[in-house]
Chain length 203, copies 2
Amino acid sequence: MSNFNSLAVEQMERRYRATFINSLLGFKYVTLVGTINEAGVTNLALFNSVFHLGANPPLLGMVVRPVRPENDTFNNIKATGQYTLNNVLPYFYKQAHQASAAYPSGVSEFEACGLTPHYEEDFKPPFVAEATIKLAMQLREIMPMQVNGTTIVIGEIMNIIMDDALIAADGYVDQMEAGTISVSGLDSYFTAQPLGRLPYAKP
Amino acid sequence: MSNFNSLAVEQMERRYRATFINSLLGFKYVTLVGTINEAGVTNLALFNSVFHLGANPPLLGMVVRPVRPENDTFNNIKATGQYTLNNVLPYFYKQAHQASAAYPSGVSEFEACGLTPHYEEDFKPPFVAEATIKLAMQLREIMPMQVNGTTIVIGEIMNIIMDDALIAADGYVDQMEAGTISVSGLDSYFTAQPLGRLPYAKP
């Protein structure tokens, strides 16, 4: 067993440290964030830091890194108040990863990565047609984090587009059946194997 | 394909909605949070909403649900400023899940669930001996969320205890090799199968 203290972490080379710290947390939800600007140009970005904030109302948070002026995703969310979250499946995970590349502002990753935009009535941003669970999000709060210059974006789930058959009698959504994959670190993708579903724990 | 709009979600039965919304996000990091109070009573709780906030400094956030006065984890973190995060492995996932039960304040889940406390010099809270990746955390910020009464706790990774052999040449931590499991929803546990690690994406 080794100990890596904060001094050791601080002294790591920048990219090594990013890889190391990002891969400490195990397997995480990975999602494609779809947005659109006021001129109608779409954008797609890959996020691995979306988290559950609450079920009632249904709220999700996500971390946006220190914002460059040309961050399309963040600018589009601020301008329209809307975005989509789309799960990633094995057959298009390479296209999804490609959406993490730093394309120039104004280039739509849908076309660049070979993914298909899908639109719903009364909602501006595009969903990813290939995703089996599509969430329509309404911006609720933007929280600048003084501690490191990131921003937490809080949104409410306004609409969920998925096959009924994925939902069990108690409301549980079967992510295996949906084909959802997870990410470890910034670039390593995994499917899941069931270990077990356990009853509500009581003392 | 079905659409579930926000009215449909609002009208769901309370527990059904919690199960449904919690299981929308795919496979998530699940961790045991170890704390200790000023009288030396230890506590262990299961969290599935820890997220990466930044690599430099290494910061993690986690969502604490609306705080009852007797929430040991939150009270202990506020009192000592310290906590531990410990990954979960298949051979003790049932004990880990049991730590999510509402034990009376003052009962240590280590004993109640059959897990082993492990201590490091100059750090008060217990780690889980059975975990293969142990993080020592220092409280940096407590953020009450007006939007739904939850609290986001921000902490800095001060120390990482793990086997060197888990770390690749570029800093990537091999969570498969570590035996880490993930959770879907509140109670469904999974191991991972590798799909592929991809190179840094460029336009």
